[in-house]
Point group: C2
Chain length 121, copies 2
């Protein structure tokens, strides 16, 4: 893994949460797993704008922090299933709120983003 050179402020609650949810696709992964989309290939289909590679990296970090568990079925073809741990479940209220907030405010945020690029003409 990449070893940080700038230390994380371990005494800040927000920084702790950022360390867990900070990855670009981690919130999406957690939400997807929570609704039963829990196999690597399913997750990739669910988030096609990302790459297998990156999803695997982020899943590994979520696993390292014990937010999700990985069950490996030693079969051929291989089968893997992720599930939320109890600790991971405690993140769901936050994630659902973030998702809802984003949906509610989408039109507004969208308009600002779009005007930003228009201004470049």
């Amino acid at each position: 893994m990449y070893e940080k050179k700038i230390p994380l402020p371990l005494e800040c609650g927000l920084a702790m949460t950022r360390e867990i949810l900070g990855g670009k696709w981690k919130p999406n992964l957690l939400l997807a797993i929570s609704v039963g989309i829990n196999r690597p290939s399913q997750l990739h289909r669910e988030i096609p704008t990302s790459t297998k590679r990156v999803l695997n990296l982020q899943l590994k970090e979520l696993e390292e922090f014990e937010m999700i568990e990985k069950k490996i079925y030693h079969q051929l073809p291989p089968k893997v299933e992720y599930s939320l741990t109890e600790r991971g479940e405690t993140l769901m209220p936050i994630l659902r709120q973030m998702n809802e907030w984003g949906d509610k405010n989408r039109p507004f945020i969208k308009s600002i983003i779009l005007n930003r690029t228009k201004a470049l003409d």
Copy 2:
């Protein structure tokens, strides 16, 4: 501002929220402002591990998305006060939850991070 080369998925609620809260210090800034720490120099003292420079950048983005408002008092020495907009207020439940979650889970997360560096000996 930096112009993104990889387009933002405008249809995903989580991505919208990430766009607002994604900056390293934005959640801290919003929480601080919400409790009355609302002048630039105060904010910098509150978050001394950051730089004025970066805080200004992130404040500007929060302002661009109308999460905060900036009042400039044309005095000498100059005086500036930030405040949450109504829209910005709607973020507070999320931020408070993130902060609480991080505080509750700090010991656990901390131990994982620290063991990570020990493993390099």
